[in-house]
């Protein structure tokens, strides 16, 4: 495959399994995507679909045991991160690829001042001395829209509100000028007005710094407003992937269609009944080797019960994994 200059991260057929007493949990089972420079890629799916595990795998933070990466490649500038030493990974993680998590209270250390936590990263990766690191940290907090950063930097996490803590996390994550920012449900714990603030801030800062973003979320609304590309995930696999506009305008996979139709919308006419997807997401323990969506699918055919659908790439840039669109059955 020809290497595209713009592609900074390439995930190929990633499989992450967890061994449990009940069997093997195939949390991520064959996920592939490319991330280009400055692109915002959204991964959307319901709880337990494997969104977070995908991204923890990317930065090699799967707790092992019980987890293990059972196969695939994660190419960062063409180099497989799964084959790197711990030292090499450490130079990338937090520096070139950084993360922000859903709950800003649990991802900040409650015993340490913000200054200590922010300066640690900066000193480690940029080799600045204490004074310069603190200045850099203050500058980042200012960028993240925290008022009086000179004073606030010496405070503890509990002295910040939820939205402010998420701003601190963003400032911290962007302090080393990363190429990739992985944001795992960054606004799910926040109120709508604060969510709007934070999404605005993230967009503004990453645009300015040219950072590529992988945004994990369960909210289709957030994806629509922020992402260039969207991947829809179900039971450990992507079911559909493509440019945001294309996917939202004409979703092709029955799951994507159902998902988009089941979201209540502000701009929908009154009295329209919400369509829902029947049944529940499957248990990912010992899934049979077939389409995981078929028990809930209205268009299920015989073949869906037997084999996993092949990927098909269409002219509009989307890839869809469904037997409805696959010719060779």
């Amino acid at each position: 495959m020809a290497m595209n200059e713009d592609i900074i991260l390439q995930v190929k057929n990633l499989r992450t399994y967890f061994n449990t007493d009940e069997g093997i949990v195939k949390a991520v089972d064959g996920v592939s995507f490319d991330l280009r420079k400055g692109e915002t890629l959204g991964i959307v799916g319901e709880s337990g679909s494997g969104k977070s595990v995908t991204n923890l795998s990317v930065i090699n933070m799967i707790p092992s045991p019980p987890g293990r990466i059972a196969g695939g490649e994660i190419l960062y500038h063409g180099k497989d991160m799964l084959k790197m030493s711990k030292k090499e990974i450490r130079q990338i993680r937090g520096n070139k690829i950084s993360m922000i998590f859903q709950d800003p209270m649990t991802s900040l250390n409650p015993f340490l001042r913000i200054s200590t936590q922010m300066m640690e990263t900066i000193q480690l990766h940029q080799g600045l001395d204490k004074k310069a690191a603190k200045e850099k940290a203050i500058e980042m907090l200012k960028l993240a829209g925290i008022p009086a950063p000179e004073k606030r930097i010496d405070q503890y996490p509990h002295q910040f509100s939820g939205g402010m803590r998420q701003r601190v996390m963003i400032a911290m994550a962007l302090s080393c000028n990363p190429e990739i920012l992985i944001a795992d449900e960054p606004t799910s714990a926040l109120d709508v007005t604060i969510q709007a603030q934070i999404l605005d801030l993230m967009k503004d800062l990453t645009d300015r710094l040219g950072t590529a973003v992988i945004l994990i979320t369960h909210s289709l609304g957030v994806v629509a407003g922020t992402c260039d590309t969207v991947c829809v995930m179900y039971a450990g696999r992507f079911v559909e992937r493509g440019p945001t506009d294309v996917i939202f305008e004409s979703p092709m996979h029955p799951y994507t269609q159902g998902l988009i139709r089941s979201v209540p919308r502000l701009d929908r006419e009154d009295g329209e009944r919400l369509s829902s997807i029947r049944g529940q997401p499957p248990n990912v323990i010992d899934l049979p080797d077939c389409c995981p969506f078929y028990p809930r699918c209205d268009k299920a055919m015989d073949i869906c019960r037997k084999k996993y659908p092949k990927w098909k790439t269409l002219d509009d840039g989307r890839t869809v994994g469904c037997w409805l669109y696959s010719e060779d059955k």
Partner: protein
């Protein structure tokens, strides 16, 4: 409007929680969780109560159910003031009013089977002598309720941990319906659920309302959910109601600056609309409700604030029929 249409009337309800204070510890302080709200619910309608975390939505529901005894104000259910009722009378009156809670994990006893959970309200009211159902009648009703909310009756002997989140919420709904209430207070019943399940539960709420003629007070922080389920909507901010209107009016023509900002902050799952929308981004966070505010509670974050907003609370004004707003702009 005939008085008999009104099922629930809440008049100047206040719920203040004391904290701090005591001997040598300075004056007693209060959290003004709900600070004077007035509204009414007509039979068969759904009033959506929406607002951000900490604005007093849940406290309002709990104060109505008398789970917290309100500091002051009246709660009239079918004309009877619940705040003045004691023990036995209150239990009898509460039969017509049940709650569905947010967290389907925390609100079901893990040591009871689904069948027992749904039967418990009937057994309790049997014990008080208000109902007199035989064991067989209770069993029958439990099975009917389970089938009605979309659970197989064969799951009767299973424990909550054997159900998924959506199924647990169905158990919670069946339990709330066990006493055949008129009013159901739903405290964020779909917030913990995934979108595809959320749509199932919302539709179930709608169907049950039609079938049993239920009246809902439906609390959520998701404005799109509220729009879908409600006939009327009340927007709360910091323990007070900022705006009440018919659901269509409120979304087409929001008047209060807070409602406008709130609506513009909700993402719409359509990239084309999202790109063209103008957002009103509010600055700052919701302030803590631990102070007495002489002025408008929204003053600190409002883009259209005026000098006198800080000095006096804006009165609730009827702008159009049924559209009330508490803002000096109108």
């Amino acid at each position: 409007m005939a008085a008999s249409d009104t099922l629930l009337e809440v008049k100047d309800l206040k719920m203040h929680f004391p904290f701090g204070g005591g001997f040598l510890r300075g004056p007693q302080k209060y959290i003004y969780a709900v600070d004077g709200i007035t509204f009414e619910l007509k039979k068969g309608e759904t009033l959506g109560l929406v607002g951000e975390s900490g604005c007093g939505k849940s406290t309002t529901a709990r104060a109505i159910a008398q789970l917290h005894r309100p500091t002051s104000g009246e709660v009239l259910l079918n004309g009877k003031d619940l705040t003045k009722l004691k023990d036995k009378d209150l239990i009898a009156a509460r039969k017509g009013m049940q709650m569905v809670f947010q967290d389907p994990y925390a609100s079901l006893n893990p040591r009871m089977t689904a069948g027992d959970i749904i039967a418990e309200p009937m057994r309790i009211y049997n014990g008080h002598g208000i109902l007199s159902l035989s064991g067989q009648e209770i069993d029958e009703r439990v099975e009917q309720l389970m089938e009605r909310v979309g659970l197989s009756r064969f799951f009767k002997n299973r424990f909550p941990h054997e159900f998924s989140g959506g199924q647990r919420q169905r158990i919670g709904i069946a339990r709330a319906l066990a006493l055949r209430p008129e009013l159901v207070l739903c405290d964020e019943p779909v917030s913990a659920l995934d979108v595809s399940i959320q749509a199932q539960i919302l539709n179930l709420f709608k169907d049950l309302q039609e079938e049993f003629g239920l009246t809902y007070l439906f609390i959520a922080h998701d404005l799109a959910v509220i729009k879908y389920i409600s006939t009327r909507v009340a927007v709360m901010y910091l323990g007070t109601i900022a705006e009440v209107a018919n659901s269509t009016d409120l979304y087409k023509n929001p008047l209060h600056p807070y409602t406008q900002a709130l609506l513009s902050a909700v993402p719409i799952p359509d990239p084309k609309i999202e790109r063209e929308r103008k957002r009103i981004i509010l600055t700052g966070d919701v302030p803590s409700p631990d102070k007495v505010r002489p002025g408008c509670p929204f003053y600190d974050r409002c883009s259209k604030r005026m000098d006198h907003c800080q000095q006096a609370k804006p009165p609730v004004k009827d702008v159009e029929s049924g559209h009330q707003v508490a803002c000096f702009l109108y």
